[in-house]
Structures are given as C-alpha cells and as structure tokens.
C-alpha cells in the first residue's frame, strides 16, 4: 500500500513538473538545467541514510558503508557545485538589470 502511494506521488510529481515549467525563456535554459541538476542531488538524503543505517553483523555491512560514503561525496559535489554554479550564472543575468 505504501509503495502504491509512492507510485501515486511519483506520477503526480511528473505532471506537476510539466505544468510548472511548460514555458521557459531560452535565456534560462542553462540555469534551469543546472538548477534542476542540483536538485537531483537530493539523492544525498538516501546516501546519508545508507551511511547511517545498515544491517548488523552482515558481510555486506562494510560494503554498504563504503558505498554510502562514496554516495555522500558524489551527491554533495552534485548539490554544492550545481547550486553554486547556477547562482553564479544567474548573478550575471541580474547584474545587468540594475544598470
């Protein structure tokens, strides 16, 4: 049942996304892409959970942990790099407005 609810959420979110961004001016194509890219780094939450929780005493425990830490590093690069570079781009657009 919970899984079914998650499927509902997934499908509705895709529709919501389509509605939200139906029209984008070309100037924003790159920032939208890199901003969305940063949001996809949300997988960092999964990485943090994997790193924190693991089955006790199993062989896979250490593998799970190593993978979890790697996932944290990669996801953080994605998140921090993505948001910062998007902000840098958008600041260039903004600075001209003030003139």
């Amino acid at each position: 049942m919970i899984l079914l609810l998650m499927l509902f959420v997934f499908v509705l979110a895709i529709f919501a996304g389509n509605e939200l961004i139906s029209k984008v001016p070309p100037t924003l194509h790159t920032p939208l892409m890199s901003g969305a890219n940063a949001i996809s780094g949300i997988t960092i939450v999964g990485a943090l959970m994997c790193a924190q929780f693991g089955d006790e005493g199993g062989v896979g425990e250490s593998i799970a942990t190593v993978l979890g830490v790697c996932a944290i590093v990669f996801a953080t690069i994605n998140v921090v790099g993505g948001f910062m570079v998007t902000d840098r781009m958008l600041s260039m657009f903004a600075s001209k407005k003030k003139k």
């Binding site: 899984l3 959420v9 997934f10 979110a13 895709i14 996304g17 389509n18 939200l20 961004i21 139906s22 984008v24 001016p25 070309p26 100037t27 924003l28 194509h29 790159t30 920032p31 939208l32 892409m33 890199s34 901003g35 969305a36 949001i39 780094g41 949300i42 997988t43 939450v45 999964g46 990485a47 943090l48 994997c50 790193a51 924190q52 929780f53 693991g54 089955d55 006790e56 062989v59 593998i63 942990t65 993978l67 979890g68 996932a71 590093v73 990669f74 996801a75 953080t76 690069i77 994605n78 790099g81 993505g82 948001f83 910062m84 570079v85 998007t86 958008l90 600041s91 657009f93 407005k97």
Partner: protein, 483 residues
Amino acid sequence: MDTSLPQLLYLLATALFILGIKRLSKVKTARSGNGLAALGMLLAIVVTLAAPGAVEIEGVLRPIKLSWQMILVGLAIGAGIGALMAKRIQMTGMPELVALLNGVGGLASTFVALSEFWGRDFGADVTSQNVILGGSVWAVAIILSVMVGTITFTGSLMAMGKLSGKISGNPVVLPGRHILVAGLLFGGLACGYLAGFDANNNADVLMYGLIGCAALFGIVSVLPIGGADMPVVVSLLNSYSGIAASMAGFVIGNPLLIVAGALVGAAGMILTVIMCKAMNRSLLHVLIGGFGGDTASVGGTDATDYEGIKSAGPEEAAMILESATSVIFIPGYGMAVAQAQHVVKELGVELEKRDVTVRYAIHPVAGRMPGHMNVLLAEADVPYEQLWELERINADFKTTDVTVIIGANDVVNPDAIDNPQSPIAGMPILHSHESGTVLMIKRSLSPGYAGIKNPLFERDNCYMCFGDGKEFLSEILTELKEG
C-alpha cells in the same frame, strides 16, 4: 523527537523544491528560485542528519553504523570539490561542468541503491530471498536506480569528453551498434530481473552484470551522437539523473526523493523536447545518431566546393558596418570556441555609440547545451533586452542593414527553407540571408555539423570574413575607432 516531525520537514523541503523550480523558469525570479531550492536541500540534509532512527525503512529501525565523523568528512570533501569546480569554471566550460555534475549525481543514486541492495542481501542469510521479501516494487526500484544511474554516469562522461574535445565530436559508428545497444539493454534488464526476483545465490554476480551492461550502454549510446546534438543529449541525461534519484526514493521509501527526482525528470524532458523541435528532428532520430559531427562530410557532393565567394578583410567589414543603421549579431558555437563574446559586446557598444540599432539573434540550439549563447553573452554583460529569440526576430532581417555571423553555420543555412532534399530541410533557421549585407566570420569554408554546403556563402549579399572570430572582430573594432 516526534517521529512525524522529520516527515513534515521533508514535506516542507518538497514544497521549497516545487517553488524553486517554478521560479527558475522566470527571468525575474530565477535567482531566488535557485536559492529556495538550495534552502530546501539544506533543510533535507539537516533533517536527515538530525533525526537518525526516526526514519523507518520497511517498518524496521536500523542501528547507526557509520560514525558522524565519516559522514561529515564525506560531506566536507564533496562540498569542497563542488565549490571549487563551481568557482573555477569558465563560462565557456559550462556544458562540460553541467554534464560532469549530472554524471556524478547519477553515480550517487547508483551507489545508494547498491548500498541498500548489498546492505540487505548479504545480511542475515546470503540469498536474494531478502530482496524479494523487500517487495517487488522495491526490487524494481533498485534495478532501475542502478541502471539509470549508471547510464547517466557513463553517458555524461562520454558527453563531457565530446564537449571538451577529448573524444571526437564526430559520430563514431560501430558496426551493428543497434543490435549491440539493444543487447546491452536487454542483458542489463535480464540480470536485474534475475538478481531481484529469482531466488538464487548469484545475486551479486548478476548485479555486476547489470552494472556492466548499463555502463556500456551509456557509452555506446552516446558514442554515435554528433557534437552538435549535445544540447539534446545533455538535457536528456539531466532528465535521467532525476529519474535515477526518484527510483532511489522508492528504494529507501522516501517521498521527498521521489518528488524532487520526478520534477527534475520532467524539467529535463521539457528541455529535451524544446531542443529537438528547434532542430526539427525527433528524439529517436537524435538518439539513433550517426548524424553530423564537428567536421563531418556527407558523401556525394563536396561540401567545400563553392563558387563566386566574395571575401572581405577587417577594413572592408568596418566600412560596411560604418554605413549601417541596424545590425544583428548571430553567435554560434564558433564564438564559444574563439572566446569572442567580450569582443562581440565591445563592438556592439561601439556601434551603439554611432546610433546603430544592435541586436543579437539566438538560435535555440546554437552551441553545445541549451541556452549556451545566452550564458556567454550574459557573461560579457550584453543586456538581456538585446537578445532576441528566433521567432521574434526573423521577420526583422528584411529591414536590417548588416548581419554579422560569428561561428554559426547550419542555423543560417537557407537550404533548410529552399531545398526540400536537404538533410536539414524544415529546421527553423535565422533568416540572415534576407538582410542587406551578411558578414560571415569563419575560419574557413568548412561545413557545420550537418556536413552540408551552405548556399548562403555564395549569395551576392554575403561576404566571407576568414579568420579567428576574436582576432577579426578586434581588428574591425580598431578600424572603427581609428576611422
């Protein structure tokens, strides 16, 4: 802490993402939108760190395994690398960076799913029964997360290699590649299915099989796609990375990941469709590949065989510009390569001082990623109001004195309108040929990515200005200032 509080805060983070992405699609609110999304991300991370044990997975609370120090070290390393890359990158290197970040995000989703898979599978009993017990949707999500994440990773690295010129931008066509690609896809799915649903002891081997197939699939499927089709590829991979994150959300049972990933998936898909429309090609046609490259030449007609070409030096070009009252600049990938955006802007300002109307016409697929030209011109401080989209400016070329084309080719090829047999027939182009005079700044007569002849070069109103974009424009600028 109340167990529902973290979930409510996740809901808040979800709302911030939705608001953020909505604001990102409007010029005025874009920066604040990015800020909101970043805030949502920070909230999600803090909640996850602050509430260990509160998040139940499949109704089981699992003990903390990893020390805080290690988590923080992981976060610090990632943040350091990410910040460094974001600060250091040149605007011309932006397509590569976006592709790289994208790939890294896909890899993270893969690792999350793998960590879950192995964390459980090897646990109490070494059978994949555990996976089956986890629920079939859960197994499907793990398979898809690993698969899409890995494809995103290797595909993005390939795209990055092509964008930076480390891998040939030409389409590399392997014999029997369609069969190969289909085989890899099928093989990967088969391995995934067996690993997830068939009770046996080889789940780990099968998982390696899945990873291997997905990794090769990513490489082989991007390899045959030409450099100029990269805007489509980059935005499609962006969409994949969202889907991978969403699948990882199913794996760990977290709606925040599902929603955020789905939003990104939708955003990437919208951009992909916009890019395809701008080239008048279907997504399938782009993905099948084999079309165009940096220096491709299509057999039969010699794409460099021109007659009656007129060329102009910087002095002549300056004279033509001096007598103009309206000028349109058309930037292309060549401007990015020559890093000529700042000189273009200087020339624009110089012309404006002489009461010339200066505008910039941007083709949606000019460059190597969606919005590439807009970013470069913004870096050079070209006012946003001077950037005109194809639909808005095309009617104005007739009344424009001079069009200056810098390193663009196929997007101004009149064959798209005049010649129904042309490979690019029907592609929306900028009607530069209708303006009084065309100055085509280009290093040679070599064809663009479509590998076809551009009849514009032979038109009476077109002057070829051979040379490096940056140098040539600087020389024009000097001539103008002196004269």
